[in-house]
Amino acid sequence: MDLRLTETQEMFKKVAADFVRAEVPAHLMTQWYRTKETFRPEVYRKAASLGWLGMLLPEEYGGAETSFTDCATVFEELGRGPVPGPFFAAGVLAAQIVFAGGSDEQKKSLLPAICKGGSIPIPAITDKAAGWGAEAVETSLTRSGSGFILDGSKRFVFDAEAATGFIVAARTEIGEIALVLVDRASAGLSIKPLVGFTVSAAEVTFEKVRLSGSSVITASSGWQVLSAALEKSLPILCAYQVGACQEIFDFTAEYTRTRVVFGQPIGRFQRVQDHCVDLSVHLDAARYATYEALWRLDSGLPAAAAVHEAKAIASEGYYQACNYAHMVFAGPGTDYGHPLMAHSVLAHTLYQYLGTPWHHKRSMMDLLYPISWIPLAGCLALSL
């Protein structure tokens, strides 16, 4: 047992922390979130030059072949920003999807480009806003000559504005799930940013988009490929959320020292202290669930249930950390110029992204305690 970071990880962490301070100062960051101009190509390019895109990939594909925990230490610092941009969506998740399911050719052409930041494929998975899972994939993929036609609409696509292309989940004619690559410039593709208490999210519509045969990553095992990629990616997203919680905890604790009301620092009020305690519980619950899942992945132990658990805890934790911080900051915390607002809108968005906590808890249970369908099968046999 050793709960410290390694020297290499400490170094990653420091480089990333310095980067966040220099490139994403609070006054700019809050403005980006307020105006919803969250894709900053210059920030993204710099991160690519530091090797943070496709970090987990083997070197032959342009990656750094780091451990999961190494990668997470960088993302934890990015979450402190919170640095916006498709670092996770393209640099981790899309990279893992292509790596897990792509052909050799697709890997060779796409993965190095992801690592360099030139190619930004964004996963567009479920159609409906509510619900997450294979059953929520409705966009259709039909054969047409030597190619395909893609038709449907993805209601909630995170980081869509940054995309150079999309990795789209679609139903085939025989009801299986395919994953296909779609260029952003394709005729019939449109992106409509979502307006509301969400950020970096858009509805992406594919209106009879024509695709060549080579754009197919998998024609039938889309959900399996996605699940395998998610198992390796989600803990990195969790680490980002942990970093965000840590930042919120730190600036909230500091505010209790400096804000004076009724002639005393507000941190002397026990009600205010209570909010901080609850905030810390969410932070550390998320932190240790995340790092335990990362450790399982790094050690080659079964990790699927732990990953679902971590995602549930981290998404809920980030969301609640914001709520408790709001209680401490009161009015000023609701000003869009305040960093807490950027976190708050992002926390609500990430709560939905790639499945809600509720979804992940159920997935965890289904893995640990599968329901036997034998009674149901029995009924079916009778009715036949």
């Binding site: 047992m1 709960l3 202290q273 810390s280 619950a285 240790y288």
Partner: protein
């Protein structure tokens, strides 16, 4: 990070084998009691005998306090050995803390830190070997949270302290051998500079113990009426008691950490697989599954907080607020779990009936939910400590005391 608590060196793997075999032999016939031992305040004669018996056997080998020096009754082993013991006991749903039905898990480290050489040689071995029962005696009727406002007097008279006062809500349903007691050694001195700790033999004249019937089980009132306690029983110097209390309270307040997990979820799952409504096992009901998922996640979070605190403690790098956070979380969680049990199993959760489950009485978990919130200080105390450690509303952060 490495969360693996079972990674062995050549040295510890031999030790693990030895421990595993020893436990197999010594747990034979008592397997069903394993779970009950983690509810160490339940009043059940069989369980009590089992725990005392096992503690005595572990103690004889120095394994109850494996890291304590041999001359004080320990085994002089390393943290790695202790972790082996803890993880092997965890296989039986046990931990060194819970095997041992006395508060000595806290008292012995405090004496190790603050006692004189002579005191350590005399007081520690029986405790460390699990032979005696010690109660911690702090709370007074005028308010337990304000520990420093201690009114029980211990006035020096020659080679003795004369102790008078009243303590409440202490101990359990079995008589003690010693009373580890917070006293005021000099009423004329300012707060925090007037306290002391006495390790009082429970059979001295002038001590009266009266039962109190409480939610968590039996507790006691202890009256000290001019009890003459030899001065050698004062640990950590006269008027230095507040500093000693800090070590004590940090251990009690979650800082000691723990490895191994609470098996409550496993037991609930067993119950839900067995219990059917309209032919369908409860375990296939969505609401039951959601409720169990929440319990499991909370218990896993607690397990990770415990592991973190354990690691920080034993690497001599106390976590600044981990103790208070763990305790606050644990107790609020247990309260929540009481309600979850009711939701899942209906009346079975309220009835003391071992036929519901071979060894678990869920009623205990439900009933003690609101009761376990206060032992060793309330939720408010936990949050107060947290605020100081994090430095909420203040320029400086209070350091976590070293606990050994």
């Amino acid at each position: 990070m490495d969360f693996n608590m079972q990674a062995d060196t050549p040295e510890t793997s031999a030790f693990r084998k030895e421990v595993r075999q020893w436990l197999q032999e010594n747990m034979r016939g008592s397997e069903k009691l394993r779970w009950s031992a983690s509810w160490s305040t339940r009043e059940n004669e069989e369980e009590y005998r089992f725990r005392r018996n096992l503690a005595g056997k572990l103690g004889k080998k120095g394994w109850l306090f494996p890291m304590f020096p041999v001359e004080y009754g320990g085994a002089g082993l390393t943290i790695h050995h202790q972790t082996v013991l803890e993880t092997e006991l965890a296989e039986y749903g046990l931990s060194l803390n819970h095997v041992f039905y006395t508060i000595a898990r806290i008292v012995a480290p405090v004496i190790l830190k603050w006692g004189t050489e002579e005191q350590k040689r005399e007081f520690l071995p029986p405790m460390v070997r699990g032979e005696i029962s010690v109660w911690q005696v702090l709370t007074e009727p005028q308010g337990g949270s304000d520990v420093a406002n201690c009114q029980t007097r211990a006035i020096r008279d020659g080679d003795r302290y004369v102790v008078s006062g009243q303590k409440v809500m202490v101990g359990h349903h079995k008589p003690p051998d010693f009373l580890w007691t917070l006293v005021c050694t000099d009423p004329s001195r300012p707060r925090h500079e007037n306290l002391g700790w006495l390790h009082i033999p429970a059979n001295l004249p002038g001590i009266t113990i009266q039962p109190m019937y409480m939610m968590m089980g039996l507790k006691n009132t202890v009256f000290f009426d001019g009890v003459r306690v030899p001065a050698k029983y004062l640990v950590g110097d006269e008027n230095n008691g507040w500093r000693v209390a800090n070590t004590h309270l940090e251990l009690e307040h979650g800082g000691e950490g723990r490895v191994g997990a609470d098996p409550l979820v496993e037991r609930v799952v067993e119950y839900c697989q067995k219990t059917k409504i309209a032919g369908m096992p409860l375990m296939e009901d969505d609401q039951v599954r959601d409720t169990i998922a929440d319990m499991m996640i909370d218990l896993n979070t607690l397990r990770r907080f415990n592991q973190r605190n354990y690691w920080h403690r034993h690497t001599r790098n106390p976590h600044p607020y981990g103790g208070a956070q763990q305790r606050y979380f644990q107790r609020v969680m247990r309260l929540r779990n009481g309600e979850r049990l009711q939701r899942i199993m209906g009346c079975d959760a309220l009835v003391q009936d071992l036929s519901v489950h071979e060894v678990v009485d869920f009623e205990y978990a439900v009933r003690t939910g609101p009761g376990q919130l206060h032992g060793g200080g309330t939720l408010d105390t936990d949050r107060l400590v947290f605020a100081r450690r994090v430095g909420l509303g203040r320029p400086t952060k209070e350091k976590a005391p070293e606990t050994i």
